[in-house]
Symmetry: C2
Subunit: 382 residues, 2 copies
């Protein structure tokens, strides 16, 4: 059994930077931290000493890197199990929760349906879900909640039209009172982006983009190590970018815009009209795999549209990496060749290579993003 976990809260200055570096990149040697943070080796010795004494950091067992020159480095690490966090993602019909450790590794998950969308009722559902997950560990440090829409001050959710809510609902304070846990609220795409930035494939990239498809089209941008914190991230500003002049119209009448080409609802509708019956997204992919013509052509058009969208993003943002995921990632994975071909066609022949990462993540990844925001809030002390 671990002793009472040391606290991050009073850390500041160099100690704080070093602890965060170890959390995100650990196990990592003092000298490597010194290089990354542009600190002197002396500072590392001095600052890590009390952190080791307090038990916040410990010296990990040496990796068998084998046959390197010089004195072997002594990697430092944190104990991820020292703290736990709960992340909850809300959709219009369910709350998806995960329990994670300090590195946002998912320990367990749970789902509760949202029958009544009244704010009070949703708060009660989230609180019950949190309690269920929290019961599995001694103590939970913080709660993160993510949802589509615009968030303000990491506290309230605005314009969540899909919930039929009023202008702004102070989810954070309401949940904080109900659960007794420090609670932060963040846009779902922003939260997922933070998960990639701290603990995911963006960990070693100062610049990358994240694109999600599924119910909607999500897009977020990280440059120079920081996320573009525009509230536009919550309004889906990329949703109506034109991608195919011959594509079907979206609800606003844009032909072949991103929403009309990429969202699961639009794909289901297009194939449904062609088949004369309603079909689910997974069935569309299955039909396409079998060679059903309507499904094949719809899926192909969608894949090409996605490739074009990714090329647009690469052309306008100069990022070396685009992470593509979301519930709709199945289509991109099935049609990866088409996506990549159209992407390449939209790029300048002399342009630098961009890494496309089609990432098949479970739906819990959304909730994990919420947990990461909770981790950040705790660790960064905001």
């Amino acid at each position: 059994m671990a002793a009472a976990s040391p606290s991050w809260r009073p850390l500041e200055g160099a100690a704080h930077q070093i602890a965060v570096e170890v959390l995100i990149h650990g196990p990592i040697s003092r000298s490597e931290i010194a290089r990354r943070l542009s600190m002197s080796p002396a500072t590392l010795t001095r600052v890590t000493k009390p952190l080791l004494d307090a038990g916040l950091l410990f010296e990990a067992t040496k990796e068998e890197g084998g046959a390197r020159l010089g004195r072997p480095s002594q990697p430092l690490d944190v104990d991820p199990a020292s703290r736990h966090f709960v992340g909850v993602k809300i959709t219009s019909d369910a709350a998806h929760g995960v329990l994670t450790d300090l590195r946002a590794n998912v320990q367990s998950q749970a789902v509760r349906p949202i029958a009544d969308r009244a704010p009070d009722s949703v708060v009660a559902t989230i609180a019950a879900l949190t309690a269920e997950l929290a019961a599995q560990v001694d103590r939970v440090t913080a709660l993160g909640v993510s949802a589509g829409g615009v968030t303000e001050d990491n506290a309230s959710l605005k314009w969540a039209a899909y919930m039929g809510w009023p202008d702004a609902v102070p989810l954070g304070p309401l949940l904080q009172e109900r659960t007794g846990l420090p609670t932060v609220v963040e846009n779902d795409v922003a939260a997922w982006t933070e998960a990639e930035r701290w603990f995911g494939d963006g960990r070693d990239e100062p610049s990358f983009a994240l694109v999600t498809t599924g119910m909607g089209v999500g897009f977020s941008l990280v440059t120079h190590g920081g996320r573009a914190a525009s509230r536009d991230i919550g309004v889906g500003s990329l949703g109506h970018v034109p991608l195919d002049p011959l594509g079907p119209p979206c609800a606003q009448g844009h032909h072949g815009c991103a929403e009309a080409m990429l969202t699961s609802g639009a794909i289901e509708a297009t194939v449904g009209i062609g088949l004369g019956r309603s079909v689910a997204y997974e069935e569309v992919l299955a039909l396409a795999a079998e060679g059903q013509p309507v499904a094949v052509s719809t899926v192909a058009a969608s894949a090409r549209a996605l490739g074009r969208l990714l090329a647009l993003i690469a052309n306008t943002t100069f990022v070396p990496l685009i992470i593509v995921s979301g519930e709709g990632i199945g289509l991109a994975v099935q049609q990866e060749a088409l996506v990549r071909a159209e992407f390449a066609a939209g790029r300048h022949p002399m342009a630098r290579d961009v890494r496309l990462l089609l990432k098949q993540a479970p739906f819990t990844e959304w909730a994990r993003g919420a947990a990461v925001v909770a981790v950040q809030t705790y660790v960064l002390g905001r």
Copy 2:
């Protein structure tokens, strides 16, 4: 007559940061610098003392801000005339040069035709142009050269196909030897971007985009205070973004791509075909103003395409400001309403407002960008 100008070169740490802050934002008070750089007031008093003694900074006369509370601030400033720089922009047929002060204010300009495009001959032309401009002042501190194409290490120019040059030409070292001046080479769009970032409309914006039209379509992005330093900036990765499915084809056969819709050559060609005779860009604008149908429709299509391109950029980069300029800016200014309407149509109704700045700058602005890169190299000591 000014005394021998104090040197920036040995500055480091806080002194350097403060001096740069005064250069870019001066006249500026100590307390304002302290806020901007997150330094203590004590540090400002201590560090500025020797800078004032050395004459690098001086206390400017108090601005009549009128009726502010508290002790009046004592703004600090630099003497921009203490140093001079030369910036040269190369095109396929001429070298355009400017002489500037430390703040990149243009003192005078000169042009020399490039008859022979052989590298040695071009170097000789630039050197002669530099000598002509440098003769007007005591001493020039550094030389900056900008051109289309990809630059490496601020020293050599690659893939400048329009010059018919081999793979890479070490312009920097060649000019440095010839002129005796420290010389830096930078892509023309990147250089202009630096001019906006340090001394232009991007001075107070941590994030903005720059779009230029003219011979080609230029695009560059600044986020979190730093320019995206991709070499893609030199290859025109935005040139073939599709903007109008019904537009004319470019050389690569893309219908309605940015180059086909926005470059002066493409516009001249489209109107030329319609009129059955060759026309110059300025004449196209004049004809459009008179109501000549072919010119009107071509110019309108181009303006709408530009609006769509700007919307795409806003949608994918989250910048609050897009600066639009270049030799082709005349069209955008003439058709500003169309550009703005199409831009608005391409934005999400709930998306944050983006400021479009249509900036009518003379061609010397390109050369000024080169001068800014020279200033930066000197001031930052690289």
